[in-house]
Symmetry: C2
Subunit: 205 residues, 2 copies
DNA sequence: AAATTTCTTGACCGATTGGTCAACGTGTGG
DNA sequence: CCACACGTTGACCAATCGGTCAAGAAATTT
C-alpha cells in the first residue's frame, strides 16, 4: 500500500512522519474535499516537503484511503458498544450522546466522512458494504428485539440510526450554518438537551 | 454579473443555453463539489463548447454563485409557508414532509448546498447572514409563541429546525450510504412514516 | 439581400496539479 | 569511524486546469 515499510517494522521517524502527514491531510481533506486538497497544502501543513510525503505514501489517494480506513473503525466503535443486556432506552441515549460528543471532538473526521459519502463514496464503498452493513444489520435486529419485548416504542431501527447520525453529525458537517444561526449561544450544550428529549420521547414505550 | 445580457432582454437562445448550462453545472457541481468540477465536464454535459459556456457566464465561479442564488430561494420557500394561524403541530409536520419531498425530488440541489456548507460556505455566507438568519429568527419566535401558549411541547426552536434539516436532507446527502444499508427497501416511504412519528411524539403538548 | 448583431469554436496560454528522479544528508549497527 | 540503509529535497515533467482570442457561422434587423 505505502512506499515505506513493505513488510518491516516502522522506524520511529517513519511513525512520527506518517502521523504528521495524516494529521495534516485530515485537516486539508476535511476542509477542501479530496479534489480540492493539494499535496502542496498537505506538505506545508505537515512541515515536510512534497517529495518527502511521496516517500511515505504512494500518492494522494493512498493518504486519503489510509485516513478513511482509520476513520471507519473509530466511527463505528460507539455503535459496537451498545450493550444488548443494558436498558434499551438508556443504551440508545448513551449512543446519541457519544455520537454528539464525537461530532464536537472530531469535526474534521466527520466532515471527511461526509465529503466522501457526498461524492458517492467512491473510495469507501467496500467498507460500507462489509463493515458498516453487517454491524447495522445486527443492531437493527437487536433494536427490533427490544421493540418486540415492549421495551421500546415501535420504530424502524434503520431510520432511527439514520436520524441519530444525521442529527449528531449535523453540528460538525453544517458547522458554518449552525454558527451563523446560533451566534454566541452554547451550541452543543443545547444540542445535548434537545436530542435527549427528542429520542426519549420517541422511544419511551 | 454575466457576460451576456448586461442590461438587455435575454434572447430565446440565451435563455435556452443558460438553462442548459445551469442544469449541467448542477449535475457536475453536486457530484464533485466546486473544486472537483471542471468546465470541460460542464461543457460536455451541456452539449456546448467550453468557450461558448464562457460566453454566457463570466467563469466557473459565476456559474456556481448563480446556482446557489437560485437554490436559496427554493430552499427557504417551505419555511416561509409555515402558517402562523394554522395548527402548530400540523404546520411543522407539513414542513417536515415538504422538506423530505424536496430531498427526494431535488437531491442534486441538496448536495450542492451541503457541499457549499461543508467547505465553510465561502460563496454563500452573505445569503446565510441575511436571508436565512432573519427567516430562522422569525420562525423561532413563532414556535416559541406556540410553546408559550401550550400548543407545542417545549423545545429549542433552533435545534428543532436543525434536526428537521438534518433528518430530511440526510436521505439526499448521504444517499450512497443509505442505499447500501436499505438495499431494495422503499427508502423514502419508510422515512416519511418514521419522521412523522419522531416529530409528532416530540412536539405533542 | 445586405448589414449588423448575436452566437460558436479551434487553437492557444499561463498557472497549477500530482508525481518523478538523481543527488545529497543523516542516523545507526558493526 | 565506516559502511550502508534510511531519510530528504530542488529541479523538473506531462497532464490538466480556467480562461482568452480571433475568426467564422447563424440570426436578426434593415
Amino acid at each position: 500500500m505505502s512506499t515505506v515499510t513493505p513488510a518491516k517494522k516502522p522506524t520511529r521517524i517513519q511513525l512520527r512522519n506518517r502521523t504528521r502527514i495524516l494529521d495534516a491531510a485530515l485537516e486539508i481533506f476535511s476542509q477542501h474535499g479530496y479534489r480540492g486538497a493539494t499535496l502542496d497544502q498537505i506538505a506545508a501543513a505537515s512541515g515536510l516537503s512534497k517529495p518527502n510525503i511521496l516517500y511515505y505514501f504512494d500518492g494522494k489517494e493512498d493518504i486519503h484511503v489510509t485516513l478513511l480506513n482509520q476513520l471507519m473503525d473509530a466511527w463505528l466503535a460507539p455503535l459496537r458498544e451498545i450493550d444488548p443486556n443494558g436498558d434499551p432506552l438508556e443504551e440508545i441515549l448513551r449512543y446519541v450522546h457519544r455520537k454528539l460528543e464525537m461530532s464536537r471532538e472530531f469535526p474534521r473526521e466527520s466532515r471527511l466522512f461526509a465529503n466522501e459519502i457526498l461524492q458517492g463514496a467512491p473510495r469507501i464503498a467496500p467498507h460500507l458494504e462489509s463493515g458498516l452493513k453487517s454491524l447495522v444489520d445486527e443492531t437493527s435486529i437487536l433494536i427490533s428485539g427490544w421493540i418486540a419485548e415492549g421495551r421500546l416504542a415501535p420504530v424502524d431501527p434503520r431510520h432511527l440510526l439514520f436520524s441519530i447520525w444525521a442529527t449528531t453529525q449535523h453540528y460538525a458537517d453544517f458547522d458554518a450554518q449552525v454558527r451563523v444561526l446560533m451566534e454566541d449561544r452554547p451550541v452543543h450544550e443545547g444540542a445535548g438537551q434537545y436530542l435527549d428529549t427528542l429520542y426519549r420521547r420517541l422511544l419511551k414505550p
